[in-house]
């Protein structure tokens, strides 16, 4: 009896020690990722203008309803929302145009190390550098790609990176180019996990390539699709670095003002901190919930 109890207490002490090892990083994580939300919660009900605002008044739910009642705010917010959604949709398309097709190419003709190396290379450039490269290639008068396409006769008029096209088409292409290797790795690992027999069986039964893709490959790659989608969704809603490089903050590029730029400006530049935080929460909370749901789905499919 005594022996049993001391063994149990020894074991529970051992478990405690294990938790203790995981503690330093976990405390840091909680302190910098989870706790801030709770600290910020009271701020949402005030008119705190910036991080050093000495005079703070309680305003109730005004920040929460501002989005639906304040016309001036809507005139700023809604275009940003529209641009963001367009950008996310275009960006989502790019993970298939780049990631999936490259993964299929690699899968069908065999793994090529040199090709992987080249496709993965753009990920070494920062998002900030990617935005700069977009300007370098597609600035109206000095963009190298513009000048090249004009010379080759591919386009009649130079593309303007500071226009709607720049943010909704050119930038997603460059972001897709940058993340191509990453998405390719996700899809390729999905493809490689498909049992070879199922593909051989489909070939023997005379299935065409498209039939094999839709009936054999894709249904067995669900975890990859969900994972790539989650990354793309969260990443592109939060896109910021690229936009700053394209002049969203100081360059006067109105079309590059997406939601994250709007929230950044509210908090750090235009003295609307509490309002900005509230709106960021209102906008991104549904996204976080979708993200959590997708992660659970992915895990259920994987194991």
């Amino acid at each position: 009896m005594r022996l049993g109890r001391s063994a149990a207490s020894y074991q529970s002490r051992a478990v405690l020690v294990q938790y203790l090892f995981a503690t330093p990083q976990f405390v840091l994580f909680l302190l910098l990722t989870i706790v801030p939300f709770f600290v910020a919660l009271p701020v949402l009900f005030t008119d705190q203008a910036n991080y050093t605002d000495p005079q703070i008044h309680h305003v109730g739910f005004a920040n929460f309803t501002a989005l639906f009642t304040d016309a001036g705010l809507q005139a700023e917010y809604l275009p940003a929302l529209r641009r963001t959604v367009t950008f996310v949709a275009a960006n989502y398309l790019m993970i298939y145009i780049f990631g999936l097709s490259l993964a299929l190419l690699m899968y069908e003709i065999g793994f090529r190390g040199w090709f992987f190396t080249v496709v993965y290379l753009p990920l070494m450039a920062s998002g900030f550098a990617t935005g700069f490269m977009a300007v370098m290639l597609f600035s109206v008068s000095t963009g190298t790609a513009n000048l090249l396409f004009l010379k080759l006769g591919l386009i009649q008029k130079a593309i303007d990176i500071k226009s709607g096209t720049g943010t909704s088409i050119i930038l997603p292409i460059l972001v897709g180019w940058r993340w191509a290797g990453f998405n390719m790795a996700i899809f390729l690992s999905g493809l490689l996990s498909i049992p070879r027999e199922t593909i051989d069986a489909a070939v023997v039964d005379g299935a065409s390539y498209w039939q094999r893709l839709i009936r054999v490959y894709f249904p067995q790659m669900w975890p990859s699709f969900i994972m790539a989608s989650t990354f793309c969704l969260i990443g592109s809603f939060g896109v910021f670095d690229e936009l700053v490089a394209m002049g969203a903050l100081y360059g006067g590029n109105e079309e590059a003002k997406l939601l994250s730029v709007f929230f950044f400006n509210a908090a750090f530049r235009s003295d609307r901190l509490a309002l900005g935080m509230t709106m960021a929460l209102e906008t991104f909370l549904p996204l976080v919930l979708v993200g959590v749901f997708m992660q659970r789905l992915q895990r259920r499919l994987q194991y």
Partner: protein, 366 residues
Amino acid sequence: MSVSKTVAEQRARTILAYSRRKQLLKVIGTAVMVIYALVTVFPFYVLFIRTFVSTKDSTELHLWIPPARELSMDAQIGNLAVFYNLDLKKVKEALGIPQTEFLQSRITLKQISEKYNIPPEKIRSYFAGFYTYNGWITLLSGLDFWCALGRTLLVTAGSLIGLTILSIFTGYGLAGLKRRGQMIIYNVYLLQMVIPAMLIILPQFMIVQWFVRLLPGYENPGFLRSAVQILAVVLINIKGGAVSTMIMTSFISAIPKEIEEAAQLDGASQMQYMRYILFPLLKVPIASLVVIMLPQFWNQFLEPFVYLDQNNTTLLPLIQNLSGVYSTNFQILYTAIFVSILPLAIVYLVFRRFFIEGAMAGAVKG
């Protein structure tokens, strides 16, 4: 007999056709790969060339370094100084003009040549270098650039080392727990993946400000302020996440328990076991972690931009600040961008095997 022969013939023909098609596919596929690879490298190539293209020439297409334009001797020294970001002291020194002389900004090169008796060729050859290498000269001669590069290295190295050590602790701790205990903590780490960066940083900045203000003397610019700001960025980087936790936990869980038991029987403490037995076994997961996180830390923009003062920034925020100063001189900005990519690209190309393995490992684990 004849039936089976035709069947065999047909099968042989199908296999032949299949293998022929496969071969054709390989040729076409390889061609597509080569074309895509060229397209992928193109922006980097253009960036490299544009570091040598003067802003004056940038409205023309340049796929190779353009020759320097003939310098007009009617150019005014003031304009040149602004355009090439010249230090007039250095100009005087190079041309042999006494430092006591005052150069009016409207004075032309011709007048300088006549007034100080300097051959025009000497003046031309001095300015010719600036035409092509203006970006490189201005960037590399600036102290700000080297300081920012040093801070980037500091943040990156500090974050990598800190994250590796903390993640090993986390992995070891979680590996000793049952699956349920592991998942509770892992699920919290997973949250980080689905929270957009801009949503986190607004309240996070608030809590960090609250902590740093507790330090006496933080408000005054100085070493303490700079160090604390850099420490804040490093702490944010090493707080861990799903990827680091997953890589370490899954690898350490796979190490046989008998090894630790044997070490315990020999009288080793847990810390000694980690230091002398576990750590040397972790080369593979540490390599994966480093190659996944290195580009993220090196290319980090938002956190340094928000947390660091302008005189204390890393490379990318510095470039953002420069883009305000040199808004008409793209050459310098493109050079700075190129320089920010170059070190990481070299590391990547040298250690590409590890990067590819890490990418595939990360893709499987999520």
